[in-house]
Each structure stands twice: as C-alpha cells, then as structure tokens.
C-alpha cells in the first residue's frame, strides 16, 4: 500500500495554487505537511480526498482508501456524542465505536448532545471519527486545533497506533506533534502564475 503523488497541480476557486507536488507515503509512515497560511495545504488534501479533480499529475491511490479529516468536524449538534460516532461507524460499515470513544477519552461524554461540548471536546469527537472509518490512509487538516496538551498526546498516540497497524497518515499542521515523521514543505510548490500548471486546462491556455 502506497500513496504516490506525482507532479500534481491543484487549483482553488479557479486559481492554480500548487504545482509540481510529488511525494510518496508508504504504509507505516507519517508525513507532516508544512507551509505558511494560504499556501494550499487544505487544497491539496481536498484534492487527494477526491473532493476536487487535480489540474494535472497523478495520484496512485483511489479515494476509497482514504479517510479525510477536514477543518470542520461535521458534528450534528442535536445528536449525542455516541450517536454522532455511531452514524459514521454505520456509514463505513464498521459499526463499532467503543474503542474510538475510549481512545479519545469520550466515554463519559457519550450521552451529551454535541452542541454542549467545548471546542476541544468537539475536536476530539471529530478525530474519533477517523478510527471508525477503518480506512488505511488518514489525511488530516490541522487536527490539533483547540486541543490541550494532554489531548494532543492522545492524538499522537492514536496516530502512532494507526501507522503501527499498517496505516499511514498525512497531516497538515503548524505545531510540533512529537511524532517521528518525515516533513514535506509545500512552500516550494507554489504555482507560478505565468507558466506551468497555471495554464493547464485554464481558460486562457489558448491565449498564450
């Protein structure tokens, strides 16, 4: 199992943002995605998750192997913590939520409606979703936002357990997670406005 990205170019809102992105992520590996604000991390992850087509380049792995954790957690405020998680477990056909609840220290909050959680508790619930997808590759967009230090450690442990079990994770983050991980900086891949990917498939390709 390997996620190989080759010479990828992606756009956001019609504007090419990245080009020439190439890296590989193999089973058992964690890759940290770095880059300043607005450099295109979210855009890249959305593309890999299959939410938007690339402008150019290839991705070796179908979106079916990927679990995507976005900026927003997709929680339903009127459903309880357990109901929220159970829903995703059923959608992904795994059905089992006890371990996820345990790993993210949510068990005692099980019956609480999601609206009554604090920011960090909501985030923990959003991350627990990853465990119930049962998918091998995790794409995470700033997963530790709003987490306190204990929770960050809890998250790092979950990632470690996941890759130890043959999974892989690609994590966009600005902070240090304390994981043994390779780092991929997309700062260097900024799309050049006057050439390359910016033109592929763009409206004005024919004008140049």
């Amino acid at each position: 199992m390997e996620l190989a990205v080759e010479n990828l170019a992606v756009s956001r809102g019609g504007v090419p943002v990245l080009e020439g992105v190439s890296f590989t992520l193999t089973a058992g590996q964690v890759l940290i995605l770095r880059g300043p604000n607005g450099s295109g991390k979210t855009t890249l992850l959305r593309c890999l998750a299959g939410l938007q087509p690339p402008l150019a380049g290839t991705v070796s792995m179908p979106p079916e192997a990927i679990a995507y954790g976005a900026h927003a957690d997709g929680l339903k405020s009127t459903l309880s913590v357990a109901e929220n998680l159970k829903f995703w477990a059923n959608i992904y056909g795994t059905g089992e939520i006890t371990r996820a609840m345990n790993d993210f220290n949510l068990t005692h909050l099980g019956a609480r409606p999601a609206t009554n959680l604090s920011a960090g508790q909501k985030r923990r619930l959003g991350l627990a979703r990853l465990l119930v997808t049962g998918r091998p590759v995790w794409l995470l967009d700033e997963p530790t936002v709003a987490l306190d230090q204990a929770s960050v450690k809890m998250f790092a442990d979950a990632v470690r357990a996941h890759v130890a079990g043959g999974g892989a994770a690609l994590i966009a983050t600005h902070i240090d997670l304390g994981l043994e991980a390779a780092i991929f900086d997309i700062g260097a891949c900024r799309a050049d406005p006057d050439s390359g990917a910016a033109l592929v498939g763009a409206f004005d390709e024919a004008f140049e």
Binding site: H108, R112, P113, T115
Partner: protein, 246 residues
C-alpha cells in the same frame, strides 16, 4: 419573617403544600364534574331552538371559558417570573399550556359538531370561532418554543416574552375579526346583568359544570406543575453529576 403568598413560589414549600391539597381537590373535582355532567346530560329538557342538542352547552361553554382564562393565567404567571424570578410560577405557566390547548380543542370540536345541525356547516368564519383558531395557534407556538429551547431558564424567559407580546396581538386579532365579520354565534347569555338570562333549568347544571372544569384545571395544573418541578430538579441533579465527572 412576614408570611406571604410568595413563599409558595419556593419549590419545596410548593411541593409540600400541593401534596397535601391534591387529594382533596381531586375528590372535589370528580364530585362536581360528574354531578354536573350527569345532571346536564340526563336531567335537562330540550330547548326551543336547539332541541336536545343544547346538552352540548355543558361541555362547550366551560371549555371555551377555560381556554381563555388559562391563557390569562399563563400571562400573569409569566409576568411574575419575569419580575420576581420565581421558578414555580413559570413552570405553572408551562404546565397550563397543554391543558389550555386541550380546552381550546374541545371548544372547537364541540362547536364544530354543534354547528353542523344548527348552522348547517361545520365551520364558519365567525369572529368567535376565528379568534379561537388564533388562540389555538398561540398555544401551539408557545409550546413549540418551550420544546425547542434547551436551557430551561432561557426557555422560561423567551416563552414569557412571547406570552406577553402574544397576548397583545391576540386581543388585536379579536378586535380585527369582529370588525371583519358579524357572525352567527350566540351572544353572551351568561352575563349576570342581563335580564333575559337562560332559564334556571339550564343555568344551574351549567354553573356546576363550570365549577367542575375550573376544579379539573386546578387538579391537572397541580399534578403537572409537580411533574415540572421534579423534572427541573432532576435536570439540576444531572448537571451536578456532569460537573462531578467533568
């Protein structure tokens, strides 16, 4: 410490007192209501224009009066909550709503059933009927708002504000509807200052039924308010539990 009515706004005192009076009120309710209805149903003659259908009056009029009076009671208790922050007061308003709604529905249903033989139609856009329909909507809205807001104190505040504003608009629509259509419905024949009151044959059992409905309201109100106080207390305890385990 000066004794006053307000002390019963203390939930503990309220629970203690209401537990004592509840059996008596219940007994009295059953007695009055059963006598009144049996008297009205079995032992009154038919009337000139109405025939035997006049017997519907023993349910129709008391329920119609209660429907209005309960809303007024809710308005008063809501104001007490807004001004003096007595929880029992607003919980009483919450408990009264479903009773008021039932009374409104009963008045509407009996009226509609009566309308078919009397006016030849189940429904007419008569002012009294129409304003009852509006009242029905107000009850629904009030209860829906209670159900929709999660925090009990927020819900109490919001429903009280709605009750105040709603009362003003209910009055306005009553006037509007009057102006709009003269209507088919009977005038007020119960008023005491009128010469031509309904004859005693109908009037006495009707009074008894009226008393029965008032007592029924009090009984149900006590039962329901007690439930609400308990529910609120359970919520508070559950919150403590939540605090205890973070």
């Amino acid at each position: 410490m000066p004794m006053s009515l307000w002390q019963y706004a203390n939930p503990v005192k309220f629970m203690a007192l209401s537990a004592k009076v509840l059996p008596w009120v219940t007994g009295l309710t059953v007695l009055t209501l059963v006598t009144g209805l049996i008297w009205g149903f079995f032992f009154t003659p038919g009337a000139v224009n109405f025939g035997t259908s006049v017997k519907i009056i023993y349910i129709h009029v008391p329920s119609a009066m209660m429907a209005i009076n309960i809303w007024i009671m809710m308005l008063v208790t809501s104001l007490v909550w807004l001004i003096r922050r007595h929880h029992v007061s607003v919980l009483a308003a919450k408990s009264a709503a479903l009773i008021g709604l039932t009374m409104t529905i009963i008045a509407l249903i009996t009226g509609m059933i009566w309308g078919q033989p009397m006016w030849g139609t189940y429904w007419a856009w008569d002012p009294r009927l129409t304003s009852f329909l509006v009242l029905f909507l107000f009850y629904l809205g009030y209860m829906a708002l209670w159900a929709a807001v999660e925090n009990p104190d927020t819900a109490a505040d919001l429903t009280s504000v709605l009750c105040m504003v709603g009362s003003v608009f209910a009055l306005l629509s009553r006037y509007a509807v009057n102006f709009w259509n003269q209507g088919l419905h009977q005038g007020a024949s119960l008023s005491l200052d009128k010469e031509e009151n309904v004859s005693d044959v109908y009037f006495q059992p009707l009074l008894l039924c009226l008393a029965g409905f008032v007592l029924l309201f009090v009984t149900l109100l006590l039962i329901r308010t007690r439930s609400e106080v308990r529910r609120r207390r359970v919520q508070a305890l559950e919150m403590r539990e939540r605090m205890a385990d973070g």
